[in-house]
């Protein structure tokens, strides 16, 4: 095993173990029955153990593991997204196509590193053909709402998510064979930022960032989380092609995007009158509750690396 990989894994284990110990101490000291926040905290940490374990397994299977894992994440996210939207009987074939054709084809493009089609397949071909199929079915009831929701669903859950494994297709000079670490960097920084925003928000949160969209997002959480996650990015520069300063800047950009992703996801949930996207991950909610920040961060990270670091 490579040195830097070992350090990453040991680091994650130390963080998770510390989190579990802290949660156990807090729970032991707290009055019984435990508050919902504490119960939820323990559930979240336990789910993190599972998620980190799954990511690590996928990591060791390399390109296969990552492509399959993110295709499954797309499946789970798309399923949650489409469940929340208004669908009609006449949408059946378009919906089937989203799951049965768009997801496999987009990940096949990732697998074969066909960049030219990878970036336009969904925003050009699917975005034009999906409404065309819907129109051909002749059902115009809430037409614009339906096609808009379908497009945004594949955009978020398939197109954006597929940019994570697509990082493996980039040729960064002097970084050959280490692209998996770009994925590790992106995920650790973005998810780390989510966790740090949660911690800073719980400890110091006073001023709501956007009360109409999300009650849980505060300025204190945002600033504390994004700044500390940027520092985390600088610390992790040893696994990237970036210098520490560059890593901090990249981390700052992707964490800011991640925050916006969470905000947009909250707005959609509020509009649809639900608290969580689903119930796949105990304590967190659905898959989209975990990936909302990643979907906004991944394409930007991909293009930053592609523009500045590839030939």
């Amino acid at each position: 095993m490579r040195h830097d990989v070992s350090i990453l894994i040991i680091g994650l284990l130390v963080v998770l173990t510390t989190a579990s110990i802290v949660a156990a101490i807090l729970s032991a000291r707290a009055p019984k029955p435990l508050s919902s926040t504490l119960v939820n905290l323990t559930q979240r940490i336990n789910a993190w153990w599972v998620m980190v374990a799954l990511m690590t397994v996928a990591f060791f299977f390399g390109r296969y593991g990552m492509t399959i894992l993110f295709a499954l994440i797309s499946f789970a996210s798309l399923r949650e997204f489409v469940t929340l939207t208004h669908t009609r009987r006449s949408d059946h074939w378009v919906l089937l196509g989203m799951f049965g054709i768009i997801i496999p084809f987009q990940y096949w493009l990732v697998w074969t590193a066909w960049y030219g089609l990878f970036v336009i397949f969904i925003p050009v071909y699917c975005f034009l053909l999906m409404p065309a199929i819907t129109a051909l079915h002749g059902d115009t009831e809430r037409f614009l709402e339906r096609i808009a929701a379908q497009q945004w669903a594949v955009m978020i859950s398939v197109y954006c998510v597929s940019h994570v494994p697509a990082l493996l297709t980039l040729d960064v000079p002097g970084f050959e064979g280490r692209n998996l670490l770009l994925i590790a960097f992106l995920i650790i920084v973005v998810q780390g930022s989510d966790v740090l925003q949660y911690i800073f928000g719980k400890l110091f949160g006073k001023h709501r960032f956007s009360p109409t969209v999300s009650p849980s997002k505060t300025w204190e959480g945002l600033i504390g989380g994004v700044v500390s996650a940027s520092l985390l990015g600088a610390l992790l520069s040893f696994v990237t092609p970036f210098s520490p300063l560059q890593a901090a800047c990249v981390a700052f950009v992707v964490c800011s995007m991640g925050f916006l992703g969470g905000l947009v996801a909250s707005a959609i949930k509020r509009d649809q009158g639900v608290k969580d996207w689903g119930h796949l991950i105990e304590g967190h909610g659905g898959m989209m509750d975990r990936t909302d920040s990643l979907v906004f961060a991944a394409p930007i990270f991909f293009h930053i690396v592609r523009y500045f670091w590839t030939v």
Binding site: R79, T87, H92, L96, G273, V274
Partner: protein, 220 residues
Amino acid sequence: MSKLALKTFTLLQTVTSVGLSALAWVVTGVRPIWNGSLPSDRQRIYFANHTSHGDFILLSACLSEKERAITHAVAAGEYWGKSRLRRFIAEDMLSSVLINRQWTKPEENPIEIMLSVLDQGHSLILFPEGTRNMTEEPLLAFRSGLYNLSMARPEVELIPCWIENMSRVLPKGQFLPVPLLCRVVFGAPVTVAPGEERRAFLDRAHATLLALNPRPERDD
């Protein structure tokens, strides 16, 4: 039936039920919400809204392996008894109870057939709308079976179960399911009140089931 045939038969039913439950989970992530009742191995009639052939698969996927083995869906004999293949699927693989809605002979009396299953100590899954609901209405009026069964066997619990989203997963006339998240909400048992009229009870059971829908379609 010989011992071997019986064993094969049970194995077929177990494999089918485990396989279908796993499939239901992969496609719909199905999850039970116990909202007024709890999982139990006591004898029950689960009554649910009906929009799709997948409904009873989803409902039984929410039950434990043990309960599933003694719980039978009541299905339309006119449809499932039509060919040998359909009958094999319905009776032998899914262990459903087939009843004819247009019955003539006394031995075809649906209530008698359902009572005979209850008398073996087994549970039923019943769709009191009597047919798959293809209208814009969320729930059609109930037929009388639920009332008659409850009058005849008052000790059997009637559990209302709202099956969410199945009409979107597998609309009528479609064969391939769209993966969408589904939940099954199990409500508090309904009983016929002393002296309650047939229609009054059926309407009350109808309203109780409808009230379980966690996400009624919004008017917008």
